[in-house]
Symmetry: C2
Amino acid sequence: MKSFSYHNPVRILFGDKQKYIANILKADEHFKILLVYGKNSIKKSGLYDEICKVLNDAGIEFIEHGEVSSNPTLSHAKEGVQKAKDVTAILAVGGGSVIDESKAIAAAAASKYDVWELYEGKKPTDALDLYVILTVSATGSEMNSGSVLTNEETKEKLSFGSPLIYPKVSIINPSLSVTLPKEYLVYSAVDIIAHVLEVYFTAEEHSKLLNRFCENIIKSVIKTTEKLLENPNDINARSEFALCATWALNGLTSLGVGSYSFPNHMIEHSLSALYNVPHGAGLAVVLPAWLKWFYANTKNPQVERFAKKIFSQKSAEGGIDAFKKWLKKIGAPITLENLGIKSDEIEKIAENVDLVSYKWELKHEYPLKTIKKILKLAK
Amino acid sequence: MKSFSYHNPVRILFGDKQKYIANILKADEHFKILLVYGKNSIKKSGLYDEICKVLNDAGIEFIEHGEVSSNPTLSHAKEGVQKAKDVTAILAVGGGSVIDESKAIAAAAASKYDVWELYEGKKPTDALDLYVILTVSATGSEMNSGSVLTNEETKEKLSFGSPLIYPKVSIINPSLSVTLPKEYLVYSAVDIIAHVLEVYFTAEEHSKLLNRFCENIIKSVIKTTEKLLENPNDINARSEFALCATWALNGLTSLGVGSYSFPNHMIEHSLSALYNVPHGAGLAVVLPAWLKWFYANTKNPQVERFAKKIFSQKSAEGGIDAFKKWLKKIGAPITLENLGIKSDEIEKIAENVDLVSYKWELKHEYPLKTIKKILKLAK
């Protein structure tokens, strides 16, 4: 195992606890906040009314910043920063997109930077306190220090990280996601699995302990996704699924593994940036293609292990195939065509990836021709 | 899954990082500290000299509080509180005993309580900042908020917990434990496995995700213990072992499992309190006996699962037997006799347990006659 440093200060409140949010904010001396949320779902579900009532009853003033899109955008985050001028905290009610845009606003408002400077590498000097009520378990953003945003003008989808943007408190109430459309459950499942697999396959060093930890999460996601597709009201399955999402990207999967990278995320981000496809849908297309290319080029035994442990397959190729079949079975797109992207777009996508690969520290490992090769496997 | 709240603020620095301790203390504005350590081992290994030099070079004044015993005592902790009067932080260099006594001193000194009041239920109002350099991976105290202390006069070994006593920073350098005598490696292994099993068997609710998480730790401890008994210099095994120890009692194994208890620890504490046996040695004797009693009385399917997953045994009894054999194989004591305790002491031990079982909230579940029955199985 490699040396590491680990510190995750997020307080997780798991269960039906959104009613406590006003007291939590007041205990931390926040009386004027920015309330960030997405499109319609929390209004339809009644959660919006519930939160407004809790805040109003407690005398907490709030400025609203709704309409965050599923691939949150720079222009919308900038509007949020304007509104955040005289608040002391942000309450994000939603999934990963709402949290990520909230993190951008929190850091930009307190650091007095232009939002995009953060994604271009400027380190925030401060951030507003961030609180989360999670409605979609997928990105793990509720318990990590990263944020992803899309610059619609330059068509770049980039990320930044800082210990300053860890949420103070994240309330994870699995029953809030019962009304999530099935296709978003599927995209979420793929996102969680992708988070685990990026580390599992690209880590510098592997230990059985961490391998099994990763496989445990993947097995649970596979099982609970199948259960939830059959019965969206299975709260036990939803809870286990939610904990997997949080564990998959809160730092635990990468303890002692040394360096690792996110090539699938890098490639997918260009699909989201160019065609606004849901992140998990894009990942379902990229992952099997990347995995095929990766094994062909590295013969990495982790792929054989994955095949055996997750899909009981004797060969790596059999495992990749079984993975693709499972993705298809749960209704995920598995080709660019499934996403409505023609194969003559591959050049353009690859160039978009190439434009940002230095940011992922993958410029050397993924030259343009390699990216094209992977994308061709995803046709 | 049950609802839960999770917050673990400890910063873990894993690897050869003890040299950074002075800068860490200074960054937190600590210039006069209490240095707590055990008997001779850190002096023999050179770690004591290394730490003193690092502190001296940085101009950090330190008062020494050495000679902490392996079952730390109330009288010694009280001396520590006297010495801690004008320090702002504590640096614990050692294993679980040193950390636990340091936690007692940290809370008692800052809360102005008598030490024992904390173990009798009084909640600390404050605590000195605590920093740890871990030399023995076993108790998990480096990443949790609990402390165990023995009152030599009353022969009570009790625990208390408070978020105030989480270490600020714990440096875990697995190579510092290379010189640990083999029997202490064995006791450590048993302690780690016991921490996992208490939750695994007594939890109100089980999920496959958490079950597999627990089994993963146990499997790694079994494997790495065997490796380290053969080759104490296997740093990879030692690192994996260390991470298991930390994971076993930092809250992760019990997420969403509802209530659970520590009956084996309760019974073992009386062995330590009365005969000063090492905690892990006592646990090795209590665990198989308790497990036999537990399965006979509850037919809890977790025991069958344990037998199957850990020891590939078809029956619960076969699993318990295999567990006992494995303990014997690694050189752990498995009977009271092995500990040098005669069977006519059982009455006295049971009464000592009965005296404190209310503190463990196990008075009802473990009446005197049950405790005697379990102890008889350990003859």
